[in-house]
């Protein structure tokens, strides 16, 4: 009986679809996955709204060939949940492509699923390099930059400022180890010298032993690959031991908690993050206006513009080659110097956007200030031991 009902409902639905398609444009389904609940849900919801904005704008465009429908699923920033929802989305054959994942752990967990089902995806927020670089899956693309780009930018700025000797402290998680690896590589290319590398526990309290060793090495810069809590401790204990060096962090310390935890000691700390404040993006103003017009509940947050750009790419491809997964994959591979609100996008052979956007930050007067806007960049203030 139930089966009969279901078939009936499906037939009715199919009829309705056909009917409306005949009356209007053909309907095409696209997907979005992000963390809509849990600790980082504010970023996920911002991304969801932004992807939704891209779809709505396209639907209101009379020149568009198709009527788009957005299927939204929640990965909760948990790998196991992500694999479930990714499988669900990929198994729905009428979903042509999707903008997926904010959390690195979920993005890396699902790449095999998308590959198996042949669903083209564009990652909009996760930064782990392995997502695009571990395999060479034609289905996987990413619009935002990675840890690699972040550390390239980091090494470039510091060597340009004239710093030559570095010590590295990193936590021993994948995050910290990855940063250590990519920063060391980026720095070696530019002639900087690493005097010592120290792996530390992710919840360690006392760093005086490591820092005493570092003090003897006398580096100009202490690079730190890890998150805010131990970043605060290391910076505070540097001061206790009388170490004068630049505190050079990663995206993991760009938070208000870092500044609150340190007070005036935070001044002059550096950090780098993938992406950019939305108002600094090439199409940031346009995006914010359109976003505000839709009256969404929350802000787009840091990666909203990337979700928007990812969805735009997908819609562009479908418009060009039609609603066919394979053709969309082929078309996305050809994306080169494409204009978008986050700047030009070019995918390399791994589907990674090579023109990545990294923002440099420095703490100035108790705030994270974009480097170019800071008094450190103009030379009005100087970092420790800057010549």
């Amino acid at each position: 009986m139930f089966k009969l009902l279901k078939t009936g409902a499906a037939m009715l639905l199919a009829f309705l679809c056909l009917h409306s398609a005949a009356a209007a444009k053909e309907k095409v389904k696209v997907g979005f996955i992000g963390p809509l609940t849990g600790g980082v849900s504010v970023n996920g919801l911002g991304g969801r709204n932004s992807a939704d904005l891209a779809v709505r704008l396209r639907n209101s465009d009379p020149k568009a060939k198709y009527q788009y429908e957005l299927l939204v699923l929640d990965d909760e920033c948990k790998p196991n949940v992500a694999v479930q929802v990714a499988t669900k989305m990929a198994a729905e054959r009428d979903v042509i492509a999707a903008a997926t994942h904010y959390c690195s752990s979920t993005a890396i967990a699902t790449v095999d699923v998308y590959h198996k089902f042949g669903l083209p995806v564009v990652v909009w927020g996760a930064v782990l390099p392995d997502i695009t670089y571990r395999n060479k899956y034609p289905e996987i693309h990413r619009v935002n930059g990675t840890m690699i780009n972040q550390n390239e930018t980091n090494a470039e700025l510091l060597t340009k400022l004239g710093y030559k000797t570095f010590a590295v402290i990193h936590d021993t998680t994948d995050y910290g180890k990855g940063h250590n690896q990519y920063f060391s590589e980026a720095l070696a290319k530019r002639g900087g010298k690493i005097l010592g590398t120290f792996g530390v526990g992710a919840d360690q309290q006392d760093f005086t032993a490591e820092l005493t060793q570092i003090k003897a090495l006398n580096p100009e810069v202490i690079y730190f690959g890890g998150l805010t809590p131990i970043g605060v401790r290391i910076r505070a204990q540097m001061d206790k031991l009388g170490i004068k060096a630049v505190f050079d962090g990663t995206s993991g310390i760009v938070s208000d908690a870092f500044i609150q935890g340190l007070g005036p000691l935070a001044e002059g700390s550096l950090a780098f993050r993938e992406g950019a404040p939305t108002d600094k993006l090439p199409g940031g103003k346009y995006f914010m206006e359109k976003y505000a017009a839709q009256k969404y509940d929350g802000a787009p947050e840091a990666y909203g513009a990337f979700a928007y750009a990812a969805m735009e790419l997908i819609l562009d491809s479908i418009e060009k080659v039609g609603p066919d997964r394979k053709k969309v994959i082929d078309d996305l591979a050809k994306v080169k110097d494409r204009d978008s609100i986050i700047g030009r996008i070019t995918f390399d052979d791994h589907g990674q956007n090579t023109v990545s956007l990294i923002t440099k930050y420095v703490v100035q007067d108790g705030k994270w200030v974009v480097w170019e806007d800071s008094e450190y960049a103009t030379g009005k203030r100087k970092l420790p031991r800057q010549k």
């Binding site: 021993t172 590398t197 120290f198 792996g199 530390v200 526990g201 919840d203 309290q205 006392d206 005086t208 032993a209 490591e210 005493t212 060793q213 003090k215 003897a216 805010t228 809590p229 605060v232 401790r233 505070a236 204990q237 206790k240 031991l241 009388g242 908690a257 609150q260 935890g261 340190l262 007070g263």
Partner: protein, 305 residues
């Protein structure tokens, strides 16, 4: 190695060792009077540090000088934790005396989680590390690679004085005699007219007050406290008390400094960096325990506590 560098390592080790020792003395006191392990001890330390920070936040607005602030923080934290310790002793530990020791261990372990999570949830933005005010003079003398800070010297001296005071209290006063008597033989102590319950509560008050002092010392030393700090200090303090010999005050102190020394040695000597310093230190603790299951000092001192 450069002499200044060596001095710096020794100073770092002494500071950390002093905190470990203060925590370990608490463990050893509780074990002495009741033969139990009070696993919430580390989190009592956290609550003590946060109580001090709250006092600071409250009185700083009133515009007190740093000397008065320091004194009031110390008084509030010490007395609040002494009371908390007595409450734990009275309502969680004493009622379970007839039950297997495992129950006490479990209930205090759970209490520790409750305390820790309460700080995280109920302190404003408790999940983030909190800056701890630097109220001690921060003058420092730089001798080559050795940076001697006045505040560290003050804390170290204060720590020595506190330990000496506890030692005097236990060995030179009637109260101390009573605590030692209870530790040695509860039944006999009772027949001699010693109020067993009161003595146990006093021991809990002293041990927990020491945790408050260690917590404040931690705050002043790192200028930062967080809700999870007690968990690690609790484990280390417990390990220190064990290698020293549970029940022996001197053993606990020795154990605390020994553990700090092992961590420093681990960082300096191990070629693969500091990531494994705790692995090294705890591995040595395991070897010590295999070599001397009753601790380093327990056999030499006939009395416990």
């Amino acid at each position: 190695m450069d002499i200044g560098l060596l001095a710096q390592h020794i100073m770092n080790g002494l500071m950390v060792g002093m905190m470990y020792a203060l925590v370990a003395v608490g463990f050893t006191l509780f074990f002495g009077v009741l033969d139990i392990i009070q696993f919430a001890h580390g989190d009592v330390l956290t609550v003590g540090a946060f109580a001090a920070l709250m006092t600071f936040a409250g009185l700083h607005a009133a515009g007190l000088g740093s000397g008065l602030l320091l004194a009031s923080m110390l008084i509030v934290a010490v007395f609040a934790m002494a009371i908390l310790g007595m409450l734990i002793g009275r309502y969680l530990v004493l009622p379970l005396r007839a039950a297997p020791a495992l129950n006490t261990l479990l209930i205090t372990l759970m209490l520790g989680t409750v305390l820790r999570e309460s700080v995280r949830l109920f302190y404003p933005q408790g999940a983030n590390p909190k800056p701890f005010p630097a109220l001690l003079p921060s003058n420092s003398i730089s001798l080559g690679n050795f940076n001697l800070r006045l505040d560290n010297a003050i804390m170290l001296t204060a720590g020595v004085l506190v330990v000496a005071a506890v030692e005097l209290l236990l060995n030179r006063t009637k109260l101390g005699l009573a605590i030692r008597a209870v530790a040695q033989d509860e039944e006999t102590a009772r027949t001699m007219g010693i109020n067993f319950k009161a003595i146990v509560l006093v021991a809990f008050a002293i041990g927990s007050a020491l945790a408050a002092i260690a917590g404040m010392m931690n705050g002043f030393y790192y200028n930062e406290i967080n809700f999870g700090m007690g968990l690690y200090l609790g484990v280390v303090g417990f390990a220190a008390a064990i290698i020293g010999g549970l029940g022996s005050i001197y053993g606990a102190i020795l154990g605390g400094f020994l553990f700090a020394a092992l961590q420093t040695i681990g960082t300096v000597i191990l070629p693969f960096g500091s990531a494994y310093k705790d692995v090294f230190a705890f591995a040595v603790v395991i070897i010590f325990m295999a070599w001397r299951p009753t601790g380093l000092l327990r056999e030499k001192i006939s009395e416990r506590v």
